[in-house]
Symmetry: D2
Subunit: 344 residues, 4 copies
Amino acid sequence: MIMFQSDYLEGAHPEILKRLMETNDIQRVGYGEDIFSESARKKIKKRIGRDDVDIHFIVGGTITNLLVISSALRQYQGVISPKTGHINVHETGAVEVTGHKVITVDGRDGKLSAEDVKMIMENHLSDPSKEHTVQPKMVYISFPTENGTIYSKKELEDIRKVTKEYDLYLFIDGARLGYGLASPDTDLTIEDIANLSDVFYIGGTKCGAFSGEAVVISNSELKKDFKYNIKARGAMLAKGSLNGIQFDTLFTDDLYFKITKDAVGKALKLKDAFTKKGIKLFGSSSTNQIFPVLSDSEITKLREKYLFETWGKNNDGKTIVRFCTSWNTKEENLNSLIEDIEKL
Amino acid sequence: MIMFQSDYLEGAHPEILKRLMETNDIQRVGYGEDIFSESARKKIKKRIGRDDVDIHFIVGGTITNLLVISSALRQYQGVISPKTGHINVHETGAVEVTGHKVITVDGRDGKLSAEDVKMIMENHLSDPSKEHTVQPKMVYISFPTENGTIYSKKELEDIRKVTKEYDLYLFIDGARLGYGLASPDTDLTIEDIANLSDVFYIGGTKCGAFSGEAVVISNSELKKDFKYNIKARGAMLAKGSLNGIQFDTLFTDDLYFKITKDAVGKALKLKDAFTKKGIKLFGSSSTNQIFPVLSDSEITKLREKYLFETWGKNNDGKTIVRFCTSWNTKEENLNSLIEDIEKL
Amino acid sequence: MIMFQSDYLEGAHPEILKRLMETNDIQRVGYGEDIFSESARKKIKKRIGRDDVDIHFIVGGTITNLLVISSALRQYQGVISPKTGHINVHETGAVEVTGHKVITVDGRDGKLSAEDVKMIMENHLSDPSKEHTVQPKMVYISFPTENGTIYSKKELEDIRKVTKEYDLYLFIDGARLGYGLASPDTDLTIEDIANLSDVFYIGGTKCGAFSGEAVVISNSELKKDFKYNIKARGAMLAKGSLNGIQFDTLFTDDLYFKITKDAVGKALKLKDAFTKKGIKLFGSSSTNQIFPVLSDSEITKLREKYLFETWGKNNDGKTIVRFCTSWNTKEENLNSLIEDIEKL
Amino acid sequence: MIMFQSDYLEGAHPEILKRLMETNDIQRVGYGEDIFSESARKKIKKRIGRDDVDIHFIVGGTITNLLVISSALRQYQGVISPKTGHINVHETGAVEVTGHKVITVDGRDGKLSAEDVKMIMENHLSDPSKEHTVQPKMVYISFPTENGTIYSKKELEDIRKVTKEYDLYLFIDGARLGYGLASPDTDLTIEDIANLSDVFYIGGTKCGAFSGEAVVISNSELKKDFKYNIKARGAMLAKGSLNGIQFDTLFTDDLYFKITKDAVGKALKLKDAFTKKGIKLFGSSSTNQIFPVLSDSEITKLREKYLFETWGKNNDGKTIVRFCTSWNTKEENLNSLIEDIEKL
């Protein structure tokens, strides 16, 4: 069976493995203070065009989310998220486990809008007994979203403006950041992501690494004592260099951007194949995840050779499924799938 | 500078790197359900002689400790630990962050005794207002301890008996398990560790892997829904195979036991060198950490070429320091250090 | 100004004060073990027709909710609630602060249905990666609801059935229980409430007491060690007799039921007055809270003499407001308000 | 049996009951915003000589402790307490349940010293891996202590100085504040307590009220959003006036100080009686709790007529017991006990 159900189906990009081999015997200190992590930090700072940020490498997405959110909020505060946000759906309540409510907005296409945030804040602030409700203090969005969609620069600037107006932190979950920035439809750069947020992360696990998310903190309120928070949540690796070396590799010669661009290109070919076949797509993803809406017989046929994920029911009764590409999607597997789509 | 300050100073054992290379392109599912993790589980079960255990691979020690403890306890319950226990000293209160008190006993040589546990339980149960105090429900010990010492089989059996008598869970932190089992002084096997606990873990990070601790749960009360707990604490890796492959390698041809035995052998040579020189050792470690008590001038001399950790003040005013060996301690570095000890 | 904005606007029922005076000098032990609390427990058990329950007096509603829910759930579990549930809206995220997600259903008229619960459970159980989502383990409903509405016996029995089918606890928040049971439309008795739930509480604070909610636990799984939980959440009063005496008084000669019945009668008179005037009511409350939908000018006129709460915007652009009656609503104030409604 | 086992054995001071009767029918708003609570706040501010403090009335001691501590600390921070501190011993780990470690010092006579705090801070700050340990951020002391002892003005000033030096909050648990200030040995006034702390509370429950502790916050960092915290912990009473009226009464004509002074006077008579009889006292309490060290036969004899608490074993093998007096200790009971002590 050929797997398309996610973007974390294999090991790590060969450059990473090579670098792990080369450095293996070099002694280094623990806990992310090593020379490789330091080098990775420098390269990332250069690439995002900012020297005034703190960068920490955390092992995976959920722990990064719970760590960033719980470190930023006081106990009575909550985080605003689209209903479809990863923290609201697929993290077994990890944010709530840290004691914080996820305040959801319905959103659209996996995204929330500046208007959504404004409305929540106005409702809260105009409530005479507001102390009886959770105080919103952070906005969480994913770029790209869980639906593969992206915010435009204008949309993100508007959200940024409203978060500043209401003294909210803006946190961008970039578990698939590379793929979002590789979308042909985006007008955003990684510099914009850094400049338009208080904290964001550059996803490694889903973008070619074995593990690791690079948390970039630009708001100095959030920088203070962050390492205590990392340790208290169990998120500090003894061999922190494992993540450091991986990010150092990914940010050498723009490898991170090249491999995610390649993956998006492949996903768009798949998208084209479905579209040409007259198969509708759920949402408007232009990144490495695509969501065709299939009939039961189409699913059965494709399941003979391919693994992909069931995403939900469409309102026409058909089934939304998900295909993902990654740094390691083989040309021959892609072509085979495209042919089989054409034969549907 | 030659580093001896810990056992996580380099990458991973070459066999692990080799195996990561070989498997890199093989597609596998996420979250620890992959074939490599399954294979590792089988090998571990065989090695410990038990088929009725659940095994989960978790990325590091602190998150394993907080995960196991918080999953086992109800909110009003606490965990008994020696004062020197890692959870009590060096985890930034991670157990307390999950809402549980660490109930400490002074212990001796880094260890607690069955008598210590008995006394705590008798005090609790005889208290007419016991509901005003934390209910002890788990005993946490490390094997080997943070001081490098080990429990004898008799000591562990006695602790096991008392935990059963008082309906307590026994949890053994095996972050350095391999080194404990490689001690020339131990009469315990990994089978014993499995049979004399409700849950324990086999440390990977400090024993040759990049990352990973294999949690082995034998008490069925603790097995239920553990994967929900893993996810809710952010401890589930998308690319769970990273840990699986490492443990699969470590448990092939007893590699885990060979490399830790080698490391302990080197540590004992160091110990000998200090002893011959008339330098006292703190505690009675017979594992891969040794704790010589040095004068300021001895420290200064050794610091010219070597890095090692300051552990604390001895009661004779001198300083306790720590030297560690590992799977990757180079023969030439060891010999160089021994020569320099002789010259002190 | 005459106040109608809630049912906790004055002290306590005079019988309670009298009883506090009479008993004031009698020495009694602390923490709810006193003879008055014991007597109250006996009377409540008799009144609900069950001897096999545990009863604890807790000081207020929010702390009762967070205590019951957090005591019942493991860390990865959540509680299902109607979107309008008090725990979801007006408790500053107190349930989330204890680490648990409130899983909401839209519901209808402030209520959820057995079907709602069934759908959530089927979705959860059929999810191949269910460990990535919060496990529902409890259903929370209010009787009467925050909208003043009540469940019919059939509705409650259906919910009970579905909770048993899916191994969920059913928790009934009875902060205003007396008013629900006094509704002319109810076919439920307090015996039914006790028999159709795992745990519920009899609200004191909003039903004539200074403070206090009587938590009645019938499911033995939830009884164990509950006093530890009470203390660990700070919910144990040193002078527990304060609550005990109040409930002992309220459950003497059915005082609790008499005063809530009187209050509901008064509310229905208000309801009639609005209806006669052609003023629409929001929802279908038949308890002590009524929700007329008023124009701005009607509000302005009534605000000259009366205080009442703004509840929200109606979909016709008018404003939903809330009037409450209680054990202490004075006949003359009620009549004055009715006259002023007639003059609108 | 005549009870001496605690200072919360009866209802409330008659003046409180009288005031509750008089005000019972007066309508007032909820949640501590009422005119009685406002009046109480004014009186307390006047009495402590500070207008720049925030005052909140919370229902009991444990919930006050957990609320104040968890509101002040970030997740990775802990609170320093004497080993004998109430939060460390008798609150079922309520502080840990909120996620914070209690960092204990052995102390002396139930007290900690400025030196103790200094040592903890120096150890923490000089630790190169301090992020691996809990960051101390608050000092918790009780006045009087759980052992009935008091800090001198000099001792408190020294502690204050050291907390300022290390940027720590100083929190004084005044559950029995009145008795401490009534000690013949004290050189502290309530003004001093207010001026030498960041937050403290005036205990009501143990000093003549049914319930209630008045939290006085002088540090503006701790004032912000405190009402959100109160609600999120379930500590906000709907009928907040219950506490307000009680404190308004206690702070009218210095009632609080008169009744605690009377109680201490009675305790000292008991102390004298024991001393005259040659019975040793544990510790150096000069407040309303006294701790004679009795033989088994002395205990048996006194238990014929009196109830008192067992406190622990003395190092001479005898038993430390506790006798308490309160606002309601009857002259005849006191005299009877004194006579029976004489007859021992």
